[in-house]
């Protein structure tokens, strides 16, 4: 979009902000998907999820800058880092606390992990923002009055691919079906010879890997500091609730919706109102439809 002597056509502006919103929303979806998957299987929230995103971003950064790796490879590195973190948090927190049966203690423990991770990253990496540049974020394409970067294309492509793979996995593979079984009814699934603990671990690992990968893709977009996760996590929570805890389709819808809210609020209102609009929507949902936009679960003990 060039600002020439004439005002841009409204349609172009709308189209551009829609693109911006969808790109941003795709990133949010990747982050929120992990949260919702974990909740579906474990009925637990990992507060440190967004810090996995941040750490994934840093991992990608250092892979590129210290080892001279390529950007695309660094996405893979971030994925692995996320997976490892997921495994660690399961082994150290979720698994041991499962026997205590409290629904609040693991949440609080993950808050502790989140605080630890943020401040550990602060000591290690310092507070100065890192400029994460990739060759793709500089390459701009202009089509019919709109613009987008190669980075946006990668984000959308990877998001679509991931969601498609996840879908296929859940619907067509044995493990995927087992996962859904465990999410529906853990005891019965256990009786049918499925090992819930193994599956739960698998879910957390996959979810955290998604978070790490999202970090590598968010890094060129975000201001990369150890606290980058905080701004993302609250929105991710809102998305999971609006979409419905444990509901994959709902999360995708809600994620894109939040991305669009962000870009259109910036265009027509004020960037400062973004959080108010998103969280206003969240509270409305909780007041009137707590199970989310597309509810699959019965409304039990919400």
């Amino acid at each position: 979009m060039r600002s020439s002597g004439t005002r841009q056509v409204t349609a172009t502006i709308v189209a551009q902000q829609a693109i911006n919103g969808i790109v941003l929303g795709s990133l949010y979806v990747l982050v929120a998907l992990g949260l919702t998957l974990i909740y579906g299987v474990l009925v637990q929230i990992n507060f440190a999820h967004a810090d996995f995103v941040t750490l994934g971003a840093f991992a990608a950064y250092f892979f590129m800058h210290l080892f001279g790796g390529s950007y695309l490879a660094s996405i893979g590195v971030a994925l692995v880092v996320g997976a490892v973190l997921g495994w660690l948090i399961n082994v150290s927190i979720f698994a041991p606390l499962r026997h205590k049966g409290s629904e609040l203690l693991p949440l609080i423990a993950t808050i502790g992990v989140s605080v630890m991770m943020q401040n550990a990253m602060l000591s290690l990496f310092g507070p100065v923002p890192y400029a994460f540049e990739t060759p793709y974020s500089q390459q701009v394409f202009r089509v019919a009055g709109t613009f987008f970067t190669a980075q946006s294309i990668i984000i959308i492509a990877v998001s679509i691919a991931t969601i498609a793979l996840l879908y296929a996995f859940m619907k067509f593979t044995f493990l995927g079906k087992a996962l859904r079984a465990v999410a529906q009814d853990r005891e019965t699934a256990g009786l049918m010879g499925i090992n819930p603990s193994y599956l739960i671990m698998l879910t957390i690992v996959i979810s955290s890997a998604l978070a790490g990968m999202a970090g590598a893709m968010l890094a060129p977009v975000l201001v990369l500091t150890p606290f980058a996760g905080t701004s993302v996590i609250v929105k991710a929570f809102a998305i999971v609730i609006i979409g419905g805890f444990g509901n994959v389709e709902g999360t995708i819808l809600a994620g894109l919706l939040v991305g669009l809210i962000e870009s259109f609020t910036t265009q027509y209102l004020d960037p400062g109102l973004i959080d108010i609009v998103v969280f206003g929507l969240l509270l409305l949902m909780l007041a009137f439809r707590p199970t989310g936009l597309i509810s699959e679960r019965r409304e039990e003990n919400v």
Binding site: S3, P127, Q138, T225, Q267, D270, G272
Partner: protein, 386 residues
């Protein structure tokens, strides 16, 4: 045997006397001026503190080689985090435990405003070089001094230059929603509109906003924009410039608009922003191409010590220490006399420019305002507008 003993005794006495005399002299030399450094070392303003420290270290190294009037200089730092509450606590801790004779700091206006009542109560002078908010000196605070031009001095000047030298008639203001951001934007707007220009939009954003593509899109949709004054810290500044380039708004992206900025984005910003920063015009308090001997020596010494080029942050901190040394040379020895001697400063020459304080303790010399334009090769071109 006795004669030898006598010689040994005499020699020992002599050595003893000389030793005592030199220790005595060293102790007489050991008077120290204690300087407190309230600088942000954590949070989004941490790069301010890191660079200030280096400037201070260089100045101390040079001064302490021989001292000034028998005094050496020592600094104790406390992290004020660019934010009012940590700054207040850091100030109290510094004053209680170190008992400085003078404090330099802070960088961020919000933090400076918060510590001013504290240093005033403790009767310790505060020498500031980084905060632009008008209310820091305007009401007349006897214990706070500022060598940097305030937001009015800078804002009026840059708006006028934009109108006259750049022929700008339309502007979009982008600012972080802090004291300094909002204050600077307001001054630009008032001046620009009084001259006949038009501010097409003012977009404020919090420090938590990450993605600027939408903001850039909004700017692009506003039609003809000549200048975009931007008031934000480096982290967000980078993203804004890149987004504006991607949207084709600014010169670095093939558009016509010129981003304007003041001191918040030090040299090194261009290297991070890349091509997008081409054409950026900013006010700096330090012109590395300045031909004065003092500046050339400073640049050379800095390069030798730190193997990098100095930014205005380094230069500011260096000047603050040098000004303190100058005050000591003029006879000050403790907090009260430092304050009084500072207030009387009429013609101090620093690497950033000259210093003369008016009765509100604001430096009124305009030769501290230099303009730089970023060239396509990312180096600076000094626009000799002042």
């Amino acid at each position: 045997m006795r004669k030898q003993a006598g010689y040994v005794l005499a020699a020992t006495l002599a050595i003893g006397l000389i030793a005592t005399a030199s220790i005595g002299a060293a102790q007489a030399q050991d008077k120290t001026i204690k300087i407190g450094g309230l600088l942000p070392m954590s949070g989004p303003g941490a790069y301010f503190g890191a660079q200030d420290k280096q400037g201070v270290e260089l100045a101390l190294e040079q001064l302490n080689k021989s001292g000034v009037n028998g005094y050496k200089f020592a600094v104790q730092y406390e992290d004020s985090a660019c934010s009012p509450l940590p700054a207040s606590q850091a100030a109290k801790r510094l004053i209680d435990q170190y008992k400085p004779d003078i404090i330099i700091g802070e960088e961020c206006s919000d933090a400076t405003l918060a510590i001013m009542p504290i240093i005033e109560q403790a009767k310790v002078p505060l020498l500031n070089a980084g905060s632009s908010a008008l209310k820091i000196t305007d009401p007349g605070n006897p214990w706070t001094f500022r060598i940097m031009p305030n937001e009015v001095m800078q804002g009026v000047d840059i708006a006028t230059q934009a109108y006259n030298k750049l022929n700008a008639r339309t502007a979009v203001l982008l600012n972080e929603t802090t004291n300094a951001g909002i204050g600077n934007a307001k001054v630009f707007k008032d001046t620009f509109e009084k001259l006949g220009g038009k501010v097409v939009a003012e977009i404020g954003f919090g420090r938590d906003i990450n993605d600027f593509t939408s903001i850039a899109t909004r700017v692009a949709g506003l039609g003809k924009v000549d200048v975009i004054p931007t008031y934000t810290l480096e982290g967000q500044g980078l993203k804004i410039t890149q987004a504006l380039a991607q949207a084709g708004v600014v010169k670095g992206g093939g558009g016509p608009a010129i981003q304007l900025g003041t001191i918040w984005l030090p040299f090194g910003f261009e290297q991070k922003a890349g091509k997008a920063a081409t054409g950026y015009v900013r006010i700096v308090q330090f012109d590395p191409t300045d031909q004065r001997d003092m500046v050339k020596d400073f640049v050379a010494a800095f390069k030798a010590k730190f193997n990098a080029d100095p930014t205005h942050l380094h230069a500011h901190a260096y000047d603050q220490i040098m000004l303190i040394a100058d005050v000591v040379k003029r006879g000050a020895t403790d907090a009260q006399s430092i304050r009084d001697t500072l207030a009387a400063t009429k013609d101090f020459k620093g690497v950033t420019g000259s210093v003369e304080f008016d009765k509100t303790n604001q430096n009124i010399k305009m030769d501290t305002i230099h303009y730089m334009e970023t060239k396509p090769d990312l180096s600076w071109n000094a626009l000799k507008w002042n």
